[in-house]
């Protein structure tokens, strides 16, 4: 918005302290504005914008290692965690058959509603072997569903992430995220 003052209104400025005090006043005003900005930004806000986007809280990547094993990695931000029993992995086309996912040991999380649940924090890699149905040079689409929460007291809706993976040569892969 642009403010347009009538010429007579401009004379108001001579009543402002800043008009009298020149540079000292300008410095003081700048200092006050600076303090205001710092203090106000540090106050708790009810806008609730302090939680990370799910893609930042649970950073997903995947690769196809030699030996035909999918390695799905999540970098979990501090203060966030993922539930082991809420991971779901699938591939397209459906003719490619996956074996059982191998999870690293997690941590036990106590909750008054669900009791003990196994969760992951930090850096977690889950291995899923491709059992059959994949040929060299073929591209598959990994579909990974996961769900996690923040210690601060929210849970994210289940997230579906996909990544296209091509099997090159003798079990080496390039990856392309979609």
């Amino acid at each position: 918005m642009r403010w347009i003052f009538p010429a007579s209104a401009l004379s108001v400025r001579r009543y402002l302290p800043i008009y009298y005090l020149g540079r000292d006043m300008i410095m003081l005003t700048r200092w006050l504005v600076g303090v205001l900005l710092v203090v106000v930004s540090a106050l708790p806000s009810h806008a609730d914008g302090d939680f990370l986007e799910p893609e930042q809280a649970f950073r997903f990547s995947a690769k196809l290692s030699s030996g035909g094993v999918l390695e799905v990695r999540y970098l979990i931000a501090d203060g966030y965690y993922m539930y082991r029993d809420r991971f779901l992995f699938d591939v397209e086309p459906g003719t490619v058959v996956l074996g059982a996912a191998r999870f690293p040991p997690g941590q036990w999380h106590e909750d008054e509603f669900f009791g003990r649940s196994e969760i992951f924090r930090g850096d977690v890699t889950i291995e899923i072997p491709i059992v059959s149905g994949m040929e060299h040079g073929q591209t598959i689409r990994l579909v990974a569903i996961s769900q996690g929460c923040a210690d601060a007291g929210i849970c994210y809706l289940p997230t579906t992430q996909t990544m296209d993976l091509m099997l090159l040569g003798s079990f080496g892969a390039t990856t392309e995220e979609r």
Partner: protein, 172 residues
């Protein structure tokens, strides 16, 4: 010079106190969230009967997006049940929108004596919560609407009884 400095300092500190006071005490009174999508939404209730949220317009509405798989969501539900019982007569109406499987929600509602309407949705309810300001897809997510249907508060995470009463008391 000293007088002018004093005046400026006073004005600055008063401004600071005013802004700080607003930030600390006014979760309500200002929101850019548009509730029209929520009010127009039609979702099935626990019996499978389609319910349009706008039928409760005219009440002070607390619209809570939740799920049974979300521990912080379950934490606040006893508060909602209690306040619905205590303040429902004054025009306070809680509405739950569960992003979940129907059987789980029905069982939870029965076990926990939920005394306000629950609607159930999947992708449609997820999209609905996003149109209502829940861009991060976090639960629980709660909106408080005044009697005209205007959003006066949006909140991620479990609400305490004290915080919720402070918001709705001014609207009843």
């Amino acid at each position: 010079m000293i007088r002018a400095l004093g005046i400026s300092l006073f004005v600055g500190l008063a401004l600071l106190a005013g802004i700080a006071g607003y930030r600390l005490t006014a979760p309500h009174g200002f929101s850019q969230v548009d509730a029209s999508g929520v009010l127009k939404a039609t979702l099935p209730d626990l019996e499978g009967v389609p319910q349009t949220i706008s039928r409760w317009k005219g009440h002070v509405l607390v619209v809570n997006f939740w799920a049974t798989w979300c521990p912080p969501c379950l934490e606040e539900i006893p508060v909602f049940v209690r306040l619905q019982r205590q303040m429902g007569g004054q025009g306070l109406q809680f509405l739950g929108i569960a992003i979940d499987e129907r059987d789980r929600v029905v069982n939870f509602a029965r076990r926990n004596g939920i005394n306000y309407p629950i609607m159930i949705g999947q992708l449609d309810a997820i999209e609905l919560s996003k149109t209502a300001g829940n861009q991060r897809g976090g639960l629980p997510y709660t909106l408080v609407l005044d009697r005209s249907g205007r959003v006066v508060s949006q909140h991620y995470g479990a609400l305490t009884e004290q915080a919720l009463v402070a918001i709705v008391a001014e609207l009843l």
